[in-house]
Amino acid sequence: MSRRWLLLYVVLYMALLYAPIALLPIFAFNDGQVIAFPLQGFSTRWFEGLWTNRTLHSALWNSLVVAVISSVLAVVLGICAARASARYAFRGQGAVMGMIMVPLVLPEIIVGVSVLIVVNTVLGLPLGLWAVIAAHVLICTPFAVAVLSGAFQSLDPAMEEAARDLGETPWGAFRTVTLPLVAPGIVASLLICFTISLDEFIIAFFLTGASPTLPVYIWGLLRFPADLPIVMALGTLLVLASIVLLTMAEIFRRRGAARAGRKDSGGFL
């Protein structure tokens, strides 16, 4: 009896999580402009529309540029902060690490407005993708630090010392021993930051200026219901891409864990 209820609970839980996403491909292949049941028949014309829509291409390109640059910058900053907090004890360590983590809970609208004021009023510069990148680094860094701190804390400090003892320079020891050992953490944090930046809307909306990122472009499309099925098609492709990306990352992580002989502890999937 209780097992049946438990099963029902699990089914409902999964439905609630994934039904909205399942709708994406259904309407992406639906031969009708209105997003509503009953379905009108199979069509791939929305995907063809995707292929020819130049503004959408530039929005996607903008988003990719922003996501790649800001995730790399956030992860580099994260590596520095995580290593410093794991390896050294310094005055004000707790306070500094706390300050780095605060943007995690800062409402994005506050970040968006603040950066807008700084760029526009204080610095007097034009808005643009660079401002979005700056703000995305700000919100991504704490996520990178959170993931990387685990990786650095579980690293035996004697590893780097052994490399030094065997004749390596500090940078050589870091490059040949520390970096390979925290690589799974670096890949994980890159993925998380990339995803956060790619679908971030509020900050991008404030700062993007004349060249919109993908979420801002999609938001603009909502005013033209005729283009809505194109968004469904795009969404389908994005879901597919993220599944492929996460699977690849997981394979990479498991291979790394197996090679180092670590117990598989679940990873980020």
Partner: protein
């Protein structure tokens, strides 16, 4: 000239005085141990020699050269870490070859040296293995090969055997001795295990609270400890109140005797007598000649197979003294509560200032 020369070395961690003026000379080719309880500064001293810790006062010379400001990669020392610190992302051979990356040797010469080093520690043919496929003892050997392949002047070992089980530890103890004789390199071993230090070393430095209490050979350390702490830390020692009266020593519970000057440790004054458990005998088990006799009661007994330890209460002495007896075929084991006749040799008495 000694290979390693420390003079007046001091180290502070904030308010904590970790090394309080260390003077120490270690000769080339010596197997030297730093022995002491945890927190005595022995690991700090080892890390100072390796170059991982700077020193706040004093000088450290290795092979005549002042090591001030010399980083670990430029010192003629290599270290075997307590955790072994084997690089998990490299194979055994790559681990051993790691230190050769910056040497001028050609590829073949490097491979030859790696093979030689692995052969030396008994891991020939293991080069392609991954570290996680190895047992604890094998990882230990990889760490040794990785350090020895660089032919350092000094090999530093930080509690290298503490993670191994008893059997493996005994094997590695004799293995390390053999290796040290074979390569002729100075070994400095940090350990808290007094037995290990006695078994393996040419000389031992006993450390307490950031200072060296005594440097001596294992035999000298055991038979003539420099003070009460050293006597207590190495092996077991019975301490009994004693008083010097008219040139004779009156030991509580045992009786009076005369002692030679070399049995007196440190400056005189009110004294305490120390006797090792094996310097006394239970006369009902094993009679001895020329021994003084004392009477007591057996309070407890611990049977170890090869040895039996008797805890004996002596009249007028708080606590008990421990007497160890070798179990020979047919020798009696005495019962708890029975009266005990103890035989003791005045020549085995050591006198400590109270």
């Amino acid at each position: 000239m000694s290979l390693i020369d420390l003079s007046g070395v001091q180290k502070w961690y904030g308010e904590y005085h970790a090394l309080r003026g260390i003077d120490l000379q270690i000769a080339a080719g010596e197997f030297f141990s730093l022995l002491g309880p945890s927190g005595c500064g022995k690991t700090t001293l080892l890390r100072t020699i390796a170059g991982f810790e700077g020193i706040d006062a004093g000088t450290l010379r290795i092979d005549g050269l002042d090591m001030r400001g010399v980083t670990p990669d430029r010192r003629p020392t290599n270290m075997v870490f307590q955790s072994y610190a084997i690089f998990p992302h490299l194979t055994v051979a790559q681990n051993v070859a790691y230190g050769l990356r910056r040497t001028a040797d050609g590829r073949e010469e490097k491979a030859r040296r790696v093979g030689e080093a692995l052969e030396m520690v008994g891991l020939g043919g293991y080069g392609g293995r991954r570290p996680h496929e190895l047992s604890g003892g094998q990882r230990q050997r990889v760490a040794l090969a990785r350090a020895l392949v660089l032919r350092p002047k000094v090999l530093l070992l930080d509690e290298p055997l503490s993670a191994l089980d008893r059997k493996m530890r005994e094997t590695m103890q004799s293995e390390l001795r053999r290796l040290q004789r074979q390569v002729g390199i100075t070994f400095i071993l940090v350990t808290h295990d007094q037995e290990e230090a006695l078994i393996m070393s040419d000389r031992v430095a006993v450390m307490f609270e950031g200072a060296i209490a005594q440097v001596a050979s294992p035999q000298a350390l055991y038979s003539r400890p420099a003070d009460r702490r050293v006597a207590d830390f190495l092996g077991a020692m019975n301490f009994l109140p004693a008083e010097v009266r008219d040139g004779r020593v009156e030991i509580a519970g045992l009786g009076a005797c005369e002692v030679e000057p070399e049995q007196v440790i440190g400056a005189g004054g009110m004294a305490e007598a120390g006797m090792r458990p094996e310097a006394m005998t239970m006369l009902d088990v094993q009679p001895g000649e020329g021994l003084r006799e004392a009477a007591g009661t057996i309070a407890d007994r611990a049977y170890y197979g090869d040895m039996t330890y008797y805890m004996v209460e002596l009249p007028g002495v708080p606590g008990h003294v421990t007497v160890s007896m070798k179990n020979r075929p047919g020798s009696a084991v005495l019962d708890v509560g029975a009266p005990a006749r103890i035989g003791w040799d005045p020549r085995a008495v050591l006198l400590f200032p109270a």
